[in-house]
């Protein structure tokens, strides 16, 4: 049996979920017996080519580039998983949804206490992806098959979920893995 392909990406997240993937420690050796990594920050492959079995998405969509990446994942992944709270709910970045966009820009680039911006310019180079009107959770942009909660989901949770998905075994997440207090 050929190895299953896994792709991962971090959209508007903090890479904490990816750190948690790495936290599976030496089990990563078992994992690479089962999978081959396609596009991922781990190997720096820039685009998915062909079909991938499982896509793990960290972070929600805050700008147009996030949307483009997410759509690429949806198009190429048989199973798409929202990994962690930002992908599922928007998370911390979505706090800005309560603040008018103009004020967000002004706070970040003009008025914030640590801002040094003598020209008083808000960056708007065409090379910079434009922000969306608000931060969207992934399932509000594309169809998402599974949600793996946690901030971040623990390594054991990620391991259990991937293992179950790839071996076809039923997924059992004990209470300890999905309680957060």
């Amino acid at each position: 049996m050929s190895k299953a392909k896994v792709a991962t990406t971090s959209l508007c997240g903090c890479f904490g979920c990816h750190m948690s993937v790495l936290d599976i420690d030496e089990r990563i050796l078992d994992l690479v017996q089962l999978v081959e990594f396609d596009r991922s920050p781990i190997n720096d492959i820039k685009h998915i080519e062909g079909t991938v079995d499982v896509g793990l998405v960290e972070g929600g969509c805050a700008n147009e580039e996030n949307v483009a990446v997410l759509r690429e994942f949806r198009e190429h992944c048989k199973v798409l998983i929202s990994l962690g709270d930002c992908a599922i709910n928007g998370g911390v970045p979505a706090l800005r949804n309560m603040v008018p966009l103009k004020e967000c820009f002004e706070e970040a680039y003009l008025q914030g206490p640590t801002v040094h911006n003598p020209e008083g310019r808000i960056p708007d180079d065409p090379e910079i992806p434009r922000l969306l009107d608000k931060v969207y959770p992934c399932h509000e942009v594309v169809k998402v098959d599974y949600h793996l909660p946690g901030c971040p989901p623990s390594a054991d949770t990620i391991w259990a979920a991937l293992n179950a998905l790839l071996t076809g075994a039923p997924l059992e997440l004990p209470y300890q893995l999905v309680k957060y207090d």
Binding site: E64, V67, I122, D124, P126, R130, L132, D133, V142, K143
Partner: protein, 623 residues
């Protein structure tokens, strides 16, 4: 304005005997005098009434007509109900905004910004002015309408709006707003000295029960010649059911209230007619006040109550003095007071709401009367056992009390011979929307919807909203159904939509109404209705997915099952009646091949909005 004035607060509290249960009246009055209830006023009220400060703020923040921020001398509340918007309400709202130079909900302006624009002369409105939207104010037959403080202005146009603004600017300090704003007064008691309103009754068809001429006293005298038990027997024999919409048998309710243990019992008349599209109680209060008060007095006699209360919605405050005057006349004539019959004493007082739809629900209404937020109570215990101030209380609708008095004038057999088998008597309908003759129609129960539509001159009908947003939207295939409790039950609202209307958008607007009016206590209602609206808007805008219909059905059923009161039980009705009655309409609007994976997300829309919000030039470039 809005200078907190401790002396004024103390005076108001004094007038209500520092009675904690009159908190709503206290804050209403403070708000009226000082044009807001600010932090210091709330502190003072809490101190005077010896209630927690949180209770005061809880009440002030609950009711839309109360404000913690200064409203200025004048508040213009433009009705944004579906019918008002169908009749050009948006243009009127824009004209007000432009002429006043104050945005909706944007605080107090002086009205001077409109100078030179829109034909309004410069100058200030003394004391400042604020502009707000408000839910249906019960003027759908003469929409678009608005409230200028307590004064109702109807049949508005953009130019009428500008005229109102100019008149407000030219107004000399003490000039009566009622005479200032109306060119002429309406028919009947609308031009009574104590009303002086441009509102019209538009009674298109008077039936034999409520709107027929009434010899004052006729029913009352007959009722007093029977024993209270006999009175209840008569009401039961008449098969009278509650006219507010739920249709509970009045006689049974009375019997329970009479049987309940309590040294003091209350009769409450629910005149908090808030269901959008309903305005029949307004006309009954204007033209048949005696009939209603007779009915309340009979009810008091039957259940052994000594006190009656009319809970009048804030939007009808312009009728307050008139109704108080009618009550005073009744006291003079010995129709209220002590020794009415066999040692029976009864008096009636008017109490005001403050702009909350949910207070039409009887337990929320009682909470409100007790000076609290209008949040519905758990039932049981029912008000018949434990109601106002914990005492047995009978709450009936304005129209129900009118039926009671008429039954005692003409007999229960006469009454039950009118209407259909399960629904005796007549129903007063408020008809508005796309028809030639909007207004009040009193028809016998059992009449078909088709006949009613013919009466009011509705042609080219795409749908009729029967019973307001909490009722249902009826498709043409069902027009042969009949208006009665066993088929199409209604509290009286019939709103007609022609083929040109976007029914999906109307459902969305009604959901917006429920979102605004939800008391927020329970999650299914507070959150669920917002989710419903989000999804229905998505379909309306052409971004729907076939799976949305299942989602809407499931969510509606969750809201209906898990909500705490009638608001949540019925708020998904605009959606469910759209799905059952107009499936093809939704299917047509949902794209066959949803390019957005069924999420409704549209990148262009999001970026366009971000561009508008941020004002950054990079958004103007092509993607």
């Amino acid at each position: 304005m809005c200078v907190s004035n401790e002396a004024a607060v103390r005076e108001v509290c004094e007038r209500f005997d520092h009675d904690r249960t009159r908190l709503l009246d206290v804050v209403r009055e403070v708000d009226e005098r000082l044009r807001c209830v600010d932090d210091r006023s709330m502190d003072a009220i809490a101190r005077e009434l010896k209630v927690p400060r949180a209770d005061v703020e809880g009440v002030v923040s609950f009711y839309s007509f109360l404000s913690t921020k200064d409203k200025g001398e004048i508040t213009i509340r433009v009705c944004n109900d579906v019918v008002d918007r169908m009749k050009g309400g948006d243009e009127v709202a824009a004209a007000f905004e432009q002429a006043l130079g104050v945005p909706f909900g944007g605080g107090v302006g002086r009205g001077s910004a409109g100078a030179g624009k829109g034909g309004v002369d410069g100058g200030d409105i003394e004391g400042g002015v604020s502009l707000e939207y408000t839910s249906c104010i019960g003027m759908c037959d003469q929409a678009p309408a608005a409230l200028v403080n307590d004064v109702v202005v109807t049949r508005l146009t953009p130019s009428a709006a500008r005229t109102i603004v100019r008149k407000l600017k030219d107004r000399s300090g003490s000039e009566d707003l009622r005479t200032l704003l109306a060119d002429s007064f309406g028919d009947g008691n609308n031009s009574h000295d104590l009303v002086r309103s441009m509102v019209e009754n538009s009674i298109r068809r008077a039936g034999e029960v409520v709107l027929a001429p009434y010899e004052s006293d006729a029913g009352l005298t007959n009722a007093f010649s029977s024993s209270p038990q006999e009175v209840i027997r008569v009401i039961k024999a008449s098969r009278l059911r509650g006219r507010g919409g739920a249709g509970f048998p009045a006689g049974v309710k009375w019997e329970h209230t009479r049987a309940a243990a309590g040294d003091q019992k209350y009769i409450i008349c629910n005149a908090d007619e808030g269901e959008p599209g309903t305005f029949k109680d307004r006309v009954i209060l204007t033209e048949r006040a005696h009939l209603m008060f007779d009915g309340m007095t009979i009810a008091g006699y039957a259940i052994g109550a000594t006190q009656g209360i009319v809970y009048l919605r804030a939007e009808y405050a312009y009728l307050r003095h008139f109704l108080d005057d009618v009550l005073a006349a009744r006291r003079r004539d010995g129709r209220l007071g002590s020794g009415l019959a066999d040692g029976f004493s009864f008096d009636i007082q008017i109490r005001m709401g403050a702009g909350a739809y949910v207070c039409g629900e009887e337990t929320a209404l009682i909470e409100s009367l007790e000076g609290k937020r209008g949040q519905p109570r758990f039932k049981p215990p029912f008000p018949a056992v434990k109601g106002y101030l914990g005492k047995p209380t009978c709450v009936n609708n304005v129209e129900t009390f009118c039926c009671v008095a008429r039954i005692f004038e003409k007999g229960s057999a006469w009454f039950s011979s009118i209407g259909s088998a399960g629904s005796s008597g007549t129903k007063v309908l408020s008809i508005s929307g796309d028809c030639h003759r909007p207004g009040i129609y009193e028809v016998p129960f059992g009449v078909s919807l088709r006949d009613v539509l013919a009466l009011c001159g509705a042609t080219d009908v795409a749908a009729v909203q029967v019973g307001g947003p909490s009722g249902r939207m009826v498709p043409p295939a069902d027009f042969d159904r009949t208006l009665c409790y066993d088929d199409l039950a209604t509290g009286g609202a019939l709103i007609v939509f022609n083929q040109g209307r976007d029914l999906i958008d109307i459902a969305s607007q009604y959901l917006g109404f429920f979102i605004h009016e939800s008391c927020g206590y329970c999650t299914p209602c507070r959150v669920g209705n917002t989710l419903l609206k989000e999804r229905i808007d998505r379909i309306r805008d052409g971004h729907g997915h076939p799976s949305d219909l299942d989602y809407l059905k499931e969510l509606s059923s969750t809201i209906t099952t898990a909500s705490r009161c009638g608001l949540g039980w019925t708020s998904p009705n605009p959606v469910t009646s759209l799905i059952t009655g107009f499936p093809e309409l939704l299917e047509q609007r949902i794209p066959l091949d949803p390019s957005n994976n069924g999420t409704g997300f549209d990148l262009e829309t999001s970026l366009r909005k971000a561009g508008q919000d941020s004002g950054l030039p990079s958004y103007e470039m092509e993607v």
